[in-house]
C-alpha cells in the first residue's frame, strides 16, 4: 500500500462517483423533483450514447458527436414526454413503473433494430486519450480527469438552476402540487417538457462521458440506473447536494471496496476463501452502505420533504 | 377538585434553533373541557403532537391517568384512551364515511389480528359506527366516500374518527376550522354533550366557541404557558389581550350587531 495507490484510487472513486452523478442528476430532476419514476431514464442514457457514438463515427469528431448527440437526446426525451410520459404524471408510482418499463423494452428493442446487438465502440478524443503526469511518477488518464471536471461543472449548474432560479422553484412547486402551481400561473405542462429535455440531455452527457470507458450497448442503462437510484436514495430524493454526496460516497466506497476487501480478506481468511467471498462482498458493499444509511436516516442524508 | 387526567410537565420540543414548546405545563382535570389557545405558531399543535405521541419530546414528562406515557408509542397511547384529531384533515379518503368510523371502532375493540372471519359479519361494530356518524352530523352521508365530502363535512368526520375510539381524553386540534357558523354551532353542541363522557383538550381559534365551552383555558405564547384560568380570568388578562385576543368581540352572528 502506498500513497500513490491510495491517491489514485481516490481519484478513481471521485471519477466513478461523478460519472454516477451525471446520471443521477437527471434522475433527481425527473424523479426527485417531478416525482415521476422513470425506468426509461436508462434508455435515454443509452439512446444518448448511441447517438453520440454514431455521430462521432460519422463526423470523425468526438466533440461533434457529443454536442449533436446531446441535442438529439434532449429532443428524443421531449418527444417521449409529449407523447407518453405526460399522461403518467398524474398517475401513481406503480403505473409509472409499468409505463416506463414498457418504454424501456421498446427502446432496447428499437436500438437493437437500428444498431444491432453488438456493442458500438466510442473512443475518447485523441487529445484526451493518453495519460497526464500529475506529479513525478504518477500519471492519470486524461479522460478520467476530464470526466471529473464535467461532473463538477454540471453539479454546480444544476444546483443553481434548481435551488436558486425561479424556474427551479416552479418545477418543485409543480411537482408537489400541480394544480396549485397552475392556479398560481405556471404553465406546468410546458415547464415539465422542458425539464424533461434537460434531464434527457444530462443523460446523454453521462452516456457520452461513459461511452468511451464502458461500452455502448443495448441494456447499458439498466444496471447503472439501479446504481443511480442507490445514489439519490442515499443522498435524499430530490436533493442535488444529496445526489452529489451520494454519488461520491458510492464511487469511493465501491472503488475502495474492490481494492481493499480482497486485500483485507487475503490477510484475514487466506487467498482461497478471499477469492470466493471477496468479489461478492465488494459487490454488496454499496447496498450495505445504502441499507445502513437508510437504517439511521430513513429519508436519506439530505431529506428534502421536511 | 377533580383529579388530573392529563399532566404535562415542562415539555420541550426544539426544531433546530426554534423552541416550539418551552417547558410547557398543562394539567387537565377529569371531565373538564380545557381550551388551549395562543397565537399562530405558539406551539399548540406541537404540544398536541407531543401529548399524542406523534413527536418525541426533548425533555419533560407526560402523565395520563397517573401513568407516565412520555415515551409510549402513539398507538399505545391511543389504546389507553388518549386520542387526537388533526388540524389538517387526515381521513381515509377512498373509504366510505361508515368504514372510516368502523375502523376507529375496530381499533379499540382489540383482536384485530383476525385473519379468517369476515369483518363485515360484525354488525354490532357497524351499528356503533353509525351512531357516531350521526352524532357528528354525517348520518346522511354514511355511504359516501370521504373524499367526496365538502371541506366542512370532512372536518366533521375528522372529529368522528377520534370520537369513535371512545377516548378518555380527546385532543381536538381546531375542530371548528373550516366549518360554517351553523356547523360550528352544532360542533359546540356536540362537545357540550360529551361533557361527563370524556375529557377534552381543545385547541381552537374560534373564541366564541372557546368561551362558551371551556371550563379552564391555558394560553400558550412562544411555547410557554403564560396564563391559565377560567374564561373570565383569561378575557381580562391584559397580557393575553395583547398577545392573542386583541379587541376580539364575539363576532359570529348578526345578533350582537343588531343589539
Amino acid at each position: 500500500m502506498n500513497g500513490i495507490l491510495i491517491l489514485e484510487q481516490m481519484l478513481n472513486g471521485l471519477q466513478f462517483g461523478l460519472m454516477l452523478f451525471l446520471l443521477a442528476a437527471g434522475l433527481t430532476l425527473v424523479f426527485g423533483i417531478m416525482d415521476m419514476i422513470n425506468l426509461a431514464h436508462g434508455s435515454l442514457y443509452m439512446v444518448g450514447a448511441y447517438l453520440i457514438a454514431t455521430i462521432s463515427a460519422a463526423t470523425g469528431s468526438f466533440w461533434w458527436g457529443l454536442g449533436l448527440g446531446i441535442v438529439g437526446a434532449a429532443v428524443f426525451g421531449m418527444l417521449l414526454e409529449l407523447t407518453i410520459l405526460r399522461r403518467l404524471y398524474q398517475r401513481d408510482h406503480v403505473s409509472q413503473v409499468l409505463g416506463t418499463f414498457a418504454i424501456l423494452l421498446m427502446c432496447n428493442e428499437g436500438v437493437r433494430l437500428i444498431w444491432g446487438s453488438q456493442p458500438l465502440s466510442l473512443n475518447p478524443p485523441a487529445s484526451l486519450a493518453g495519460p497526464v503526469e500529475l506529479m513525478a511518477g504518477f500519471s492519470y488518464p486524461a479522460y478520467r480527469l476530464f470526466i471529473i471536471g464535467v461532473g463538477l461543472v454540471v453539479a454546480g449548474l444544476l444546483y443553481v438552476l434548481i435551488v436558486h432560479t425561479r424556474v427551479g422553484m416552479q418545477v418543485r412547486a409543480g411537482a408537489s402540487n400541480r394544480e396549485m402551481a397552475m392556479a398560481m400561473g405556471t404553465n406546468v405542462r410546458t415547464l415539465f417538457t422542458a425539464v424533461f429535455g434537460v434531464g434527457a440531455a444530462l443523460c446523454a452527457v453521462a452516456g457520452g462521458m461513459m461511452g468511451p470507458l464502458l461500452a455502448v450497448q443495448v441494456g447499458m442503462g439498466e444496471s447503472i440506473l439501479i446504481l443511480a437510484f442507490v445514489v439519490i436514495v442515499i443522498g435524499g430524493i430530490g436533493s442535488i447536494r444529496g445526489a452529489l454526496l451520494g454519488a461520491l460516497l458510492v464511487g469511493v466506497v465501491d472503488t475502495a471496496g474492490r481494492t481493499l476487501i480482497p486485500l483485507f480478506l487475503n490477510a484475514a481468511v487466506g487467498p482461497q476463501a478471499a477469492s470466493n467471498a471477496g468479489p461478492a462482498l465488494a459487490s454488496i458493499l454499496i447496498y450495505i452502505l445504502m441499507a445502513g444509511v437508510l437504517f439511521f436516516k430513513p429519508r436519506g442524508l439530505f431529506p428534502t420533504h421536511g | 377538585m377533580s383529579t388530573a387526567v392529563l399532566k404535562v410537565d415542562k415539555l420541550v420540543k426544539r426544531f433546530g434553533g426554534l423552541t416550539a414548546t418551552d417547558h410547557a405545563c398543562v394539567s387537565v382535570g377529569q371531565g373538564e373541557i380545557h381550551a388551549l389557545i395562543g397565537p399562530n405558531g405558539a406551539g399548540k399543535t406541537t404540544l398536541i403532537h407531543q401529548i399524542s405521541g406523534a413527536l418525541h419530546s426533548d425533555s419533560g414528562s407526560i402523565h395520563f391517568c397517573g401513568q407516565d406515557v412520555t415515551t409510549l408509542p402513539m398507538h399505545e397511547r391511543a389504546l389507553l384512551g388518549l386520542v387526537r384529531s388533526y388540524q389538517i384533515t387526515s381521513i381515509f379518503g377512498r373509504l366510505s364515511v361508515l368504514d372510516n368510523i368502523a375502523l376507529a371502532v375496530q381499533a379499540v375493540e382489540g383482536s384485530s389480528f383476525r385473519f379468517w372471519t369476515s369483518s363485515r359479519s360484525d354488525k354490532e361494530r357497524y351499528a356503533k359506527a353509525q351512531a357516531v356518524a350521526e352524532r357528528v352530523g354525517l348520518g346522511q352521508h354514511l355511504h359516501r366516500l370521504a373524499n367526496a365530502l365538502s371541506h366542512g363535512e370532512q372536518r366533521q368526520l375528522e372529529v368522528g374518527l377520534a370520537l369513535a375510539t371512545r377516548p378518555k381524553l380527546l385532543l381536538l386540534d381546531e375542530p371548528m376550522a373550516g366549518m360554517g357558523p351553523d356547523e360550528s354551532e352544532r360542533m359546540v353542541g356536540l362537545l357540550q354533550s360529551l361533557r361527563g363522557e370524556t375529557t377534552i383538550l381543545l385547541v381552537e381559534h374560534d373564541m366564541d366557541a372557546v368561551f362558551r365551552l371551556a371550563d379552564t383555558i391555558s394560553v400558550l405564547v412562544f411555547g410557554k404557558v403564560i396564563a391559565c384560568g377560567d374564561a373570565q380570568h383569561i378575557k381580562d388578562n391584559p397580557e393575553v389581550k395583547r398577545a392573542y385576543l386583541g379587541d376580539e368581540a364575539h363576532p359570529t352572528g348578526p345578533a350582537q350587531e343588531a343589539a
Binding site: 489514485e8 478513481n12 446487438s117 486519450a129 486524461a142 441494456g219 480482497p262 459487490s283 | -
Partner: protein, 371 residues
C-alpha cells in the same frame, strides 16, 4: 424419414456484452450450412436460433423448450460455461447430442463427462495453459493475473498456472460484466509486474485494453491474453494500441490448410469482416454435425450410431488436425500469435508458431465415460 429436416438448436448469447461471441458462433455455423447447400449430412437443415441472454436460468428454460417442444436433434451454441452447466442436464436427459462451439467447462471434461456432450472447441483451461507456457518460455518472472469471477475465469487462471511456475504478482477476480477497470489498473501500477495476463472475453477485454493503454501502462508491462481477447473483433474495436500483444489460440485465420482458407475467404465475403475463433468454432461444430448425420445416413434415432460417428470426427477442421479424447474433448495444437500490421497495413494477428502440440486437457483422466 430423410425428407424431414435435421433440427439444430442454436442457443447462444445474442444480446449484452457477450453478444459478439454468440453472433460469431451463429454466423460461422450458418456459413457452414449455407456452403453445404442448406443441408447437414445430406438432409435439409433447420437451425432454430435462440438467445440465452448469458443467463443460466434463461438458458435452462430455452433449452427445455428446444428439446421438448421443438424436439431438436442437436444442440449447440452456448458461449458461457455457467450457462452450459445449466443447459446440460435437460439436454442430456432427453438424449439430445450437444456439440459445443465454445463452452468447455472442466466439469464436463472430468467427472461429469457425458456421452451426449462433444466439444468442437477446447477445454476451458487449454488456451490459458498455452499462454502460461509462452510467458514462462519468454522468461517473464512476475505476472499479474486478471479474470472475471465466474467458473471459466477460475479455470483460466488454474490453467495458466499449470504451465507458468514463476511469481504471481497478483491475482484479481473482477465482477463478470465489469467494464471499468480503473481500480484494477491502479493496482497494477502499484504492483509493477513485468507482464499482465488477462482472461476477459468479448467487450470486457476491449475495455480493459483501451483503458490499459490510456493509463499509460503499456510502456511498463507486456500484455498477454488468450486468443479470443486478441481476436479480430477486439482488434476492430481497439485498433493500433494492441500492436505487439501476444496471444494463443487453437486456430488462426492465417493457418495454412485448405479448409481454413476456404472458410476465411467465404466468411469475409459473406459477412464483410474477418472471422474470429468463435466463428471458426461455430463452423467446425456444423461440420462435425454434418459428418455425423452423413455417416449415420441420417438415422438420428440410433443414438449409439450417432455417438460413434461423432466420436470418429471425420471432418476437415479449419484448425488442422483434430481428434477426440476419451472425454469427448479435442486433442489438438495450440498456436502463438502476435498482433502486427499485415501487408495491407491492417492490424491483425500473425501466427508465430506452435506452443503446445497434440495437447489434451488435464481432466480426461477423471472421466469415466459411460459406454
Amino acid at each position: 424419414q430423410s425428407n424431414e429436416p435435421v433440427k439444430v438448436g442454436m442457443l447462444s448469447t445474442l444480446s449484452g456484452p457477450g453478444a459478439g461471441l454468440g453472433i460469431d458462433i451463429r454466423d460461422g455455423f450458418a456459413l457452414a450450412v449455407k456452403l453445404g447447400g442448406g443441408k447437414l449430412g445430406g438432409r435439409t437443415a433447420e437451425v432454430i436460433v435462440a438467445d440465452d441472454q448469458a443467463s443460466p436460468d434463461v438458458g435452462r428454460q430455452t433449452a427445455d423448450r428446444l428439446v421438448k417442444r421443438d424436439k431438436v436433434d442437436f444442440m449447440t451454441g452456448v458461449v458461457f460455461s455457467n450457462v452450459m452447466l445449466a443447459v446440460g442436464a435437460p439436454t442430456f436427459q432427453s438424449k439430445t447430442f450437444y456439440v459445443s462451439a465454445n463452452a468447455g467447462p472442466s466439469q464436463y471434461a472430468g467427472e461429469q463427462c457425458n456421452p451426449y456432450f462433444f466439444s468442437a472447441s477446447w477445454q476451458n483451461d487449454n488456451l490459458h495453459e498455452a499462454v502460461g507456457k509462452t510467458v514462462a518460455d519468454k522468461g517473464f518472472k512476475r505476472v499479474a493475473l486478471i479474470a472475471p469471477n465466474y467458473p471459466a475465469g477460475k479455470d483460466a487462471l488454474t490453467g495458466f498456472k499449470r504451465f507458468y511456475k514463476g511469481e504471481v504478482a497478483s491475482e484479481t477476480y473482477t465482477q463478470l460484466n465489469q467494464l471499468d477497470y480503473g481500480a484494477e489498473l491502479s493496482q497494477l501500477r502499484a504492483t509493477k509486474p513485468d507482464a499482465v495476463y488477462i482472461f476477459l472475453p468479448g467487450g470486457l477485454g476491449i475495455n480493459f485494453i483501451k483503458q490499459f493503454v490510456g493509463a499509460g501502462l503499456s510502456k511498463d508491462m507486456t500484455l498477454f491474453g488468450p486468443g479470443f481477447s486478441a481476436d479480430e473483433d477486439v482488434i476492430k474495436a481497439v485498433g493500433e494500441p494492441m500492436l505487439g500483444m501476444f496471444n494463443t489460440s487453437q486456430w488462426a485465420h492465417d493457418l495454412d490448410n485448405a479448409a481454413n482458407k476456404k472458410f476465411v475467404a467465404e466468411f469475409e465475403k459473406e459477412y464483410g469482416r474477418l472471422p474470429s475463433l468463435y466463428a471458426a468454432q461455430g463452423y467446425d461444430a456444423a461440420k462435425l454435425i454434418d459428418a455425423a448425420v452423413r455417416d449415420t445416413k441420417g438415422k438420428l434415432d440410433d443414438k449409439a450410431a450417432v455417438r460413434k460417428a461423432l466420436e470418429a470426427a471425420k471432418f476437415d477442421s479449419v484448425r488442422g488436425a483434430f481428434k477426440f479424447n476419451t472425454n469427448h474433448f479435442p486433442i489438438q495444437d495450440y498456436y502463438l500469435r502476435v498482433i502486427t500490421k499485415n501487408g495491407k497495413g491492417q492490424v491483425t494477428n500473425r501466427t508465430l508458431g506452435t506452443v503446445l502440440k497434440g495437447h489434451a486437457d488435464a481432466y480426461a483422466g477423471s472421466c469415466k465415460m459411460p459406454s
